[in-house]
Point group: C2
Chain length 284, copies 2
């Protein structure tokens, strides 16, 4: 991991305010929710994004109290979605599970439930895309009633076969636009979208629909794509340039640091969080 | 590797003619050019696509004779491109190397030089894209004079940081359209494009510009993305559906089987080539 991040080229508005910083819990995957929450409080990180597998370990009521007692806010719950399945019963079970995720987001006071939409159960990606649209249509009224926004996260095309058939900002926006913007938006994650030849135009077109912004970096040379994320400044993504474009499109909410990386996961939280803050200031 | 490939859904025109089949030499990476050429002849595979690192081992004149004596045609030479570099001198050296690749393609009677365009030398992907356009502009007259078409191959976005900043069919088409269609076209490789939400529309829009079609499959679960290709029928790509769309866009030239995969590379050629033909008939 480099300690001196490369300066971002071009005119810059400077660092984002620290009061927008969120620790996405996957960045501290080896820690419990309690440890992550306490570390955020200790290091004055105002937001945390909570993953459901950690929530299941902790229990919802206890998690709600922990977060409240630490004075944190929850930027999002990760994750809902995974709508496509080969049978109608399985698709309905997944929508039902998404309703539980909405309940959890509402209990935690999270504004957003991130949707990783799911991949085709077979070779038919067009059918999978229809199942995603149908799933969101079934879920949206329930989310709207509970004040939880659904954030469709387009994922890097390397995940198209296994995690999400929704791969580009444009596709996510067109999908979100089929629903009320108060309920369905999109989440822009630099790791998933940085390569897009239409990136600037698509961020601008998404104005009013962006409900989350995630940062990390794309390491070179790439190893396994799931774990290839690095700390901002360690890879090839123009994180600051993208953040400024997202701001110009009107998004001024929390900025989640979301890093799947074994080296990051091995860092003690009292080393990790200062590094996250340093790179947030220098590179985001 | 499955032995019984899944049937492709939907109405189908059936298999493509065997006289369009080309063995892309990377599929037989462990074999010499001589062994690959002789295996193609032995198994009545009419085309081969020749890689430059194999050509360098063999010598151009010897390669030309080998291919001619075996009665094969060369569908393409792989690969030119790699235009972006941090200095002007290095960019000019790369264009000069591309001229040598054009010479080799012309000597082999290959219609197409495949361009893997290259990645940014730093974080500035927009600048890299301009370097690619400038590189093709410098190369195109030389290629046109020698009757070699340049085939821009959009690569999967997983390769955007290391191999090609040109990632989608749309981007490759818009780039190709800046030049005479007699000289600059695009190469559609199912591995790189299968996930694209605009796939069908973009293949149709590319009518008249498609100069090559490559097949393989996307294996699940994905391991390292470079070596994740499988034999047609072993993964999630609707190869036949895409081939038919490419044909509707007017491309009826060679179909290259291009597979980076250790298991495939370990197969004896007299096992590999019959399997390639079987899967070509069943899945392409």
């Amino acid at each position: 991991m480099r300690t001196a991040p490369t300066a971002n080229p071009g005119a810059s508005l400077g660092s984002p305010a620290i009061d927008r910083l969120s620790l996405n819990q996957i960045t501290a995957e080896r820690a419990s929710l309690k440890d992550a929450v306490e570390a955020c409080a200790r290091h004055s990180v105002p937001y945390i994004a909570v993953w459901r597998h950690k929530l299941a370990e902790t229990g919802l009521d206890r998690a709600v109290r922990m977060v409240r007692d630490a004075g944190l806010s929850v930027s999002s719950v990760c994750r809902g979605g995974m709508f496509p399945a080969s049978t109608r019963a399985e698709r309905e079970a997944r929508i039902e599970d998404n309703r539980r995720a909405v309940d959890e987001a509402a209990a935690l006071g999270a504004e957003v439930l991130v949707l990783v939409c799911g991949a085709a159960p077979d070779k038919d990606i067009a059918a999978a895309r229809r199942m995603v649209a149908d799933g969101i249509a079934a879920l949206a009224p329930y989310a709207g009633d509970r004040g939880v926004r659904l954030g469709v996260e387009p994922m890097h095309p390397a995940f198209a076969a296994e995690r999400s058939c929704i791969t580009t900002l444009r596709e996510a926006r067109c999908l979100a636009e089929r629903f009320d913007s108060a309920t369905v938006g999109l989440v822009a994650d630099v790791y998933h979208i940085w390569w897009d030849p239409d990136l600037d135009d698509e961020i601008a077109h998404a104005a009013g629909r962006i409900v989350g912004f995630h940062v990390s970096d794309w390491l070179v040379p790439m190893q396994a794509v799931l774990m290839n994320r690095g700390m901002m400044g360690d890879g090839v993504i123009e994180v600051r340039r993208i953040r400024e474009a997202v701001e110009r499109a009107g998004y001024v909410g929390p900025i989640e640091v979301e890093i799947f990386n074994e080296a990051v996961w091995s860092m003690p939280l009292d080393v990790l969080l200062p590094l996250v803050k340093e790179r947030y200031r220098a590179c985001v």
